[in-house]
Symmetry: C2
Subunit: 507 residues, 2 copies
């Protein structure tokens, strides 16, 4: 490339490296806060993180950064850049433009309102009283509507918010997919009902030694391919995956003595996120490309490992003897085949995070519709509890007894995360689409899993998804891997097969 462009791009990279290092530092402080930080440090830590984030915002929106981008783009010199360099420039510009569009005053207001709202949400949920959260939520909805205006949109202001988590995704594309997904789910729930099978998963909620659970889960993700030289596992109240660099990926999990699912499936889920981060091309280190390309694609990787692998019959044929030997008192009477059924029980329930693979999407569709109505001004904040309960009854056939197990159950609205929920179902749909494509490329897949061999699968995901980081958009990945845009078909096929296995004993 031309030497002027070369020099300008180096300057650009030097800026993005500083931003990347500060972002990593902020993440380390956040991780420490959730894992090891002593309680007394809360206030000072909040200030430290705020300072780092303000500096990042400053650098992101600085004139200097703007000029570098402009020079690289407008002088036609982009032609001199390589493919990954163009992608890095595009990703940085996209994030920069979003940041520049928001007045400082608005950012401060949003930060203040959501900070207070999280406190009132906690109180409201603990007292199961929506009225405590009502005023905060009204303010947040007003702010999110203004947020959408600042960001700009063509058809639907909610598009602007979804775009923050899933770049390029629009309500218009999502709605018909979700409608068909909902119809398919209803049909499959009927099918489960008609099977007459009643599988009890009560054994999962008996008594399992926490340290044995954790060491089993660690062994599993090591076998799956999570790299412990470039990552580690710690405990926290809410499980998460944080990446401070391609070679420093931290997972957390929690262990409940009376719930065998939480630690194991939680850790496989986070390891799915973690293997995505670890698989990004190392040449992208400290550039705008060194991250997952969207929330939905990220979630597709965690769900792929958690569900397509970790809840498959083949997986349990391999893993069950080891689990059984850890907990002989609880599990000696249960076969691998039965255990596979037990961890795949599907039935309507109130709480999203506890929902099974099938009904989970109904929880998301409900939130998607309410968010769309709120952001478009078709629904008032006071109508939320009733709308929620009506939809629960209609979609899942159950009605929350109170707001704590209804519209107050999730933290997302309290931090202004409107537009975030769709990512979870997108993750499920992407995962199933990738799974379908993978089966064509790796016909031996099932047999490999049964032998505890995950190398080919991980290599396939690395090659197709991980290594690209943000260099390819969600739509590009989907089209290239599956030859088609987002759809619900692969998921419905996948889940029906599992229903046949679990509820109709078809193997």
């Amino acid at each position: 490339m031309g030497s002027t462009t070369n020099q300008t791009f180096d300057e650009f990279l030097s800026t993005t490296r500083t931003i990347s290092d500060l972002t990593a530092a902020s993440s380390v402080l956040g991780w420490d806060q959730e894992t090891y930080m002593p309680d007394g440090a809360a206030e000072e830590r909040a200030e430290q993180i705020a300072t780092l984030n303000a500096l990042i915002h400053q650098m992101m929106t600085s004139d200097k950064a703007g000029k570098l981008v402009e020079e690289l783009v407008s002088n036609g010199s982009a032609a001199d850049l390589s493919e990954w360099q163009i992608a890095a420039l595009r990703e940085f510009s996209r994030e920069r433009e979003q940041a520049v569009k928001l007045p400082d005053e608005f950012v401060r207001e949003m930060s203040k309102v959501t900070s207070l709202a999280q406190q009132s949400w906690k109180k409201a949920r603990s007292k199961s009283d929506f009225s405590i959260f009502r005023d905060s939520l009204a303010k947040i909805i007003d702010i999110k509507r203004r947020h959408a205006q600042y960001l700009g949109y063509k058809e639907n202001p909610y598009d602007a918010l979804i775009d923050l988590y899933e770049p390029g995704m629009k309500v218009e594309q999502l709605r018909p997919v979700f409608e068909r997904l909902q119809e398919g789910t209803a049909r499959l729930l009927d099918k489960i009902d008609q099977s007459g099978a009643d599988i009890s998963d009560a054994v999962l909620f008996t008594d399992f030694d926490p340290s044995a659970q954790l060491s089993f889960a660690r062994e599993v993700i090591k076998k799956l391919g999570f790299n412990f030289t470039d990552g580690r596992v710690d405990l926290s109240t809410h499980p998460f995956c944080a990446s401070f660099g391609i070679r420093d990926v931290r997972l957390t999990t929690r262990v409940y003595r009376d719930d065998l699912r939480s630690c194991l499936f939680g850790l496989i889920h986070e390891a799915g996120h973690g293997m995505y981060e670890q698989g990004i091309d190392k040449a992208y280190s400290r550039t705008p490309l060194a991250d997952g390309t969207s929330m939905g694609i990220h979630e597709s990787q965690s769900l792929f490992w958690e569900n397509m692998v970790g809840r498959s019959l083949e997986f349990w044929k391999w893993a069950y003897p080891s689990l059984q030997s850890q907990f002989p008192e609880r599990l000696s009477d249960i076969s691998a085949d039965s255990f596979f059924r037990i961890v795949n029980v599907m039935k309507s329930s109130m709480i999203r995070v506890e929902a099974d693979e099938l009904t989970y999407n109904l929880h998301i569709i409900l939130r998607f519709e309410i968010e769309d109505d709120l952001i478009n001004g078709r629904m008032n904040v006071d109508d939320i509890p009733e709308a929620w309960n009506t939809k629960m009854e209609e979609y899942l056939g159950i009605t929350p007894a109170n707001d704590a197990e209804g519209c107050l159950q999730d933290v997302h609205w309290s931090f202004g995360g409107h537009g975030y929920f769709p990512s979870y179902s997108l993750g499920k749909l992407y995962a199933a689409m990738f799974y379908q494509a993978m089966l064509k490329d790796l016909p031996e897949h099932h047999k490999q899993i049964e032998r505890g061999e995950f190398g080919d699968l991980l290599s396939w995901l690395r090659e197709k998804v991980h290594r690209w980081g943000k260099a390819k958009s969600p739509a590009e990945l989907t089209n290239e891997i599956c030859g088609e845009p987002l759809s619900e078909g692969a998921f419905l096929t996948y889940i029906e097969k599992k229903i046949n296995q679990v509820y109709y004993n078809q193997t």
Copy 2:
């Protein structure tokens, strides 16, 4: 204070808060690196820390910060500032001036040379071959001599380097103190020799369960007063204390199965540093005053708790039954009184970090003299091994068998830490001076320790030393607490009393 000054001081504070937050972030990254960071992350982490430190240096030396300081100082408006505000301004100016004096090019050169030198030192030490380290050390000595020139000095260039660790301290003040300390030490070594007592500490190097050692040490520092709500303890290869804020103080320790001293005395030592940090006036949080006032004063606090408390007869009368019950097989035949003697054996040895309270200072005086000669150009790098060995024989009566246990034993010279060593002995002298003053104020001290009551002692140190942070200089503290400047008298009195206890059975 005047409203213009008020506003300028607020702007000044806002700058120092940002610097303080970035410094804390850099420390968190450093702590994580030594405790939990996966190996693969080393390279990315080095970049992140370098970026944070470069930003801190930039802000410290910025024209903006310079103008704020100038405005506050020169406009006579300092008269409008409160005492702590003046101190904060003074401390910031002092550090800023030191930073501004060094050309960027020089800072980069120093960083590069010392980074490479640490590798060659490691290799040289492991092969016990000074010639491997020789060229790096020659470069570093040249750099440190230039460093001293940039910083400026009146009489001795070595003063400029000592000042980096002990503000205001000079060779002229230190040399006579060290000479008298050396004479006194020689006299006391003779006295020990004449006692004819031969105390074996071999039991300390038998076999002690690591987790029992750690839990005992944790219990001890909790009793001493280390606040676990505002701090914690982790493991690392080299013990250290890091503070990310007054309410977030992290200690680390290490545990050797075959050395009972390392974990316990190491953790008491670090807790001494930690309680100093935790005791700083909370109003100083995120200001230039929120740190120990010097390396020497910091070390006085760690040594006070480690030696004056943790190696006292009263302490072991209280703590020994508990230690004994942890390790009955090893300790049931040994009394508290004997154990006190065992942990206070004094005899010449090769390695500084393993030296006893008395002979330790001779190791420091040796290094002080060699550094003084090197920085003043009176000694050549090639003469170091011989000078070292001659002094070891002269001061301690033993000669290193090789350079690994001689002049290659310490890491300090490889990172350019010339001027650092004197702090260790300063810590011993300050600690003894404070101890003498404390005994006058707390006549019940010995009885309290024997009952495991450390509250009055900690309150005394808080009041006299800790709460001031950097608001008082080492000289100010010494004069106010002891009514006299630095001297060796209190230490020699303290240690002779202990020798009488240990070697002459006087109680």
